[in-house]
Every structure is written in structure tokens, then in C-alpha cells.
Subunit: 207 residues, 2 copies
């Protein structure tokens, strides 16, 4: 079974054996001849993909009323994957979504590592540091690098932990954030597993 | 008594009657003939100002051992102003400093409103919203504007409130943040008042 999670820059494929990425700019989806189950946040690709009969849009198998209109389909699939917890999907943005008793409670969006590093650098060259993920967040900082690291990380940490729910980390920077959210479960395949779950639930219509 | 708080873009003057600003680019400090007590975060101006005998650098009257080497002198003066509390100085950066029993505990740096708005916009045009300072931070968001507003504001709020100390707001965006930190005291003259306090404490050397 071939799965594909399409973002703004790449097609992220997953089959039984491996994961691989193709660039949105150069990859031609009609070159794939087998059946592909996909989700796609990239609006520019919707028409093209809908014209290909072997590309199956899994977003059509979700009860969208549980979510809000502009919520990214990747966030929706992450939420569909769990019964209870806070999902942190750490990529170019960090999305944080709360699920309680199988219901989506709501979520927020925080800048990703690279975006936030640039933000500090643009405010002042004196703040052009990389973040220190080893920084002790129990101690108020007394140097510039820790002052921005704490500003970026402890604020997020305090808010996430206030929900008193298990934390699940996914996305490209999951392992960096694991250094801060030490008790969190890292699940890099959360969205692909959710796609498989939706396929199984709709087996009679899909297969 | 003429006071001046010099930043990266402007000279911010305060005398008995009024406050006014002059541009760092165009203003000539030697045009002031009376005595000026100042602090200055703008390194490019240090040599020029030190050559003018009527410009008195108040940073020399602070016990710097209590702070860290790269800490901005404006933050140090804000801290010197209070005995206990969390100071939020909301400008192009938001600096947050904690004081307990007259001692500087530490502090962190968070992006200012404009810097953070640009950050979200650069991540995706779908996140190009202004922040909703009326957003109810007790409810997890279910729309994009509140999702970024909560991401920017609730994270900061959760961290600041965890210190269980009075909150003092200063800086150009103090009144915006007052909508979130409802019990905070707004003190737009915090740094000027701190400068006056240091002058009084060192009256014999300074006057």
C-alpha cells in the first residue's frame, strides 16, 4: 500500500518497506501507476491530483464537522490518530493540538525552529544564536543564548504541560523537542498510521 | 533634569514637562547644551557620547556584577526600578525579567508583536493575520487567527503567570499586552523613574 503526505515543498511517500520524498516542484504525480492514498495541504496540487484516478484523496473520508474550515488536513489526520493527548507536530511551524475522549478540543500554531531563529536574528544581531535545547528550563536564564532559548522553548513547554495530558511528538524536528518534552512519545509515523487507520475504517468503500 | 533612554533607532528624552523622541540617524547629541543623564543600548554611539562632558552615562552607577555581561542596560534599569515582580518590556523584542527580594533572578527574550506577525506570515500566507488580543485564552482555538494569537500570547502568559509574582508592563506595546495580563500594572515611565532613583542614590557623586 502506497501512502503520500503532501506538503508545500515535498511529496512524502511511505510504503511497506521505506519512506522517501520527492520535490513538489519537479515530481510528476502521473508517473505513479499504482494506487496512492494521499492527503495534501498544497492547494495548488488539488486539481491535478483529483484528475488522476489512482490518487485517492483520504480527506474525503473524514467527518470535517469535527474540525474548523481552515485547519490543515495534516493536523486533522494527526488528531484522528489518537484518543487522548497533546500532539506536537514540529516542522516549519509547530502545531499543537489537544484531543480529549476522542474529541478535538482545539489547537494552536507556534513558529518552527528555523523561523523563530530568524525572528530573533532580525530583531537584533545580538540575538543571532541557535537555540540551546540542553538549556535547563527550571532556571531563569542569565545569558543571551539561554534567554532566547528559554523564550522560545519554556513558553511552549509551560503551555503544553498545563493540559496535563500525554504528549506525542511528530514531524521533522520531533527529536529536538524530545530533549525538552522528556516524557513525550515520539511517533514519526503518526500521520501515516492515521492514514492506514482511516483506510481500514473505510475498507468497503476504498479497496 | 533631562533624561535620555537611547535605543537602536531613537533618543527618548524626558524632562519635567514632557517626553519626546529624536532619530538616532539625524540627531546630533552635541546640540544639547544642558546636562543629560542617559542610558544607551546603541553601541555605535558610545564613543561619541563619552566625548561629551555634559552627557552622563548612568550605566557607570550600577553594580554590574548583579547582571550578566550581554544584558541590555535598559533591562538592567527596569530591574533596578522594582523590589519584586515580573517586568515585561514590550517593544521590538519582549524582554521578561524576574526580580525577587530585590535580586535579579534571570530573564528571557520573546519576539515583539511586529516581529512575530512577520514570522507567521513568512511560514505561510495562510497565517498572515494580525494577533487577536481579545482572544479568550481559556479556550483552545478553533480558527486560524486565534490559533496564532494563542500560540503567541498564551504561551507567554502561561510562563509569566507560573512565577506567581506581580506583573509590571512597560514599553511601546504595554497597553496591548495589558489586554492579556489584566491584573498587570502599566508603568510607561519605569526606566525613567529608575534613572531618577539611581541619580538620587548617587547624588553626592553626580550633582
Amino acid at each position: 500500500m502506497l501512502l503520500c503526505d503532501i506538503g508545500n515543498t515535498s511529496y512524502h511517500f511511505c510504503n511497506e518497506n521505506r519512506e522517501y520524498k520527492e520535490s513538489v516542484k519537479s515530481f510528476d504525480p502521473s508517473s505513479v501507476k499504482e494506487k496512492v492514498y494521499y492527503i495534501c495541504v498544497n492547494k495548488a496540487l488539488h486539481v491535478k491530483l483529483h484528475s488522476l484516478s489512482n490518487w485517492i484523496d483520504l480527506s474525503e473520508y473524514i467527518d470535517k464537522k469535527k474540525y474548523y474550515q481552515t485547519m490543515g488536513i495534516d493536523r486533522i489526520f494527526a488528531v484522528e490518530a489518537i484518543n487522548e493527548g497533546v500532539i506536537i507536530d514540529a516542522g516549519s511551524a509547530v502545531t499543537v493540538d489537544v484531543v480529549k475522549n476522542n474529541e478535538f478540543v482545539g489547537g494552536f500554531i507556534y513558529p518552527g525552529i528555523q523561523a523563530m531563529r530568524k525572528t530573533y536574528e532580525n530583531i537584533s544581531p545580538a540575538l543571532a544564536y541557535s537555540f540551546n535545547f540542553e538549556c535547563d528550563l527550571d532556571i531563569m536564564p542569565k545569558n543571551s543564548q539561554d534567554a532566547i532559548s528559554y523564550g522560545y522553548l519554556k513558553t511552549l513547554y509551560s503551555e503544553v504541560m498545563s493540559h496535563n495530558l500525554p504528549v506525542i511528538l511528530t514531524g521533522g524536528d520531533a527529536l529536538e523537542f524530545k530533549k525538552i518534552f522528556r516524557d513525550a512519545k515520539v511517533d514519526e509515523k503518526l500521520i501515516f498510521n492515521s492514514m492506514k487507520k482511516i483506510i481500514l475504517q473505510n475498507e468497503d468503500r476504498l479497496c
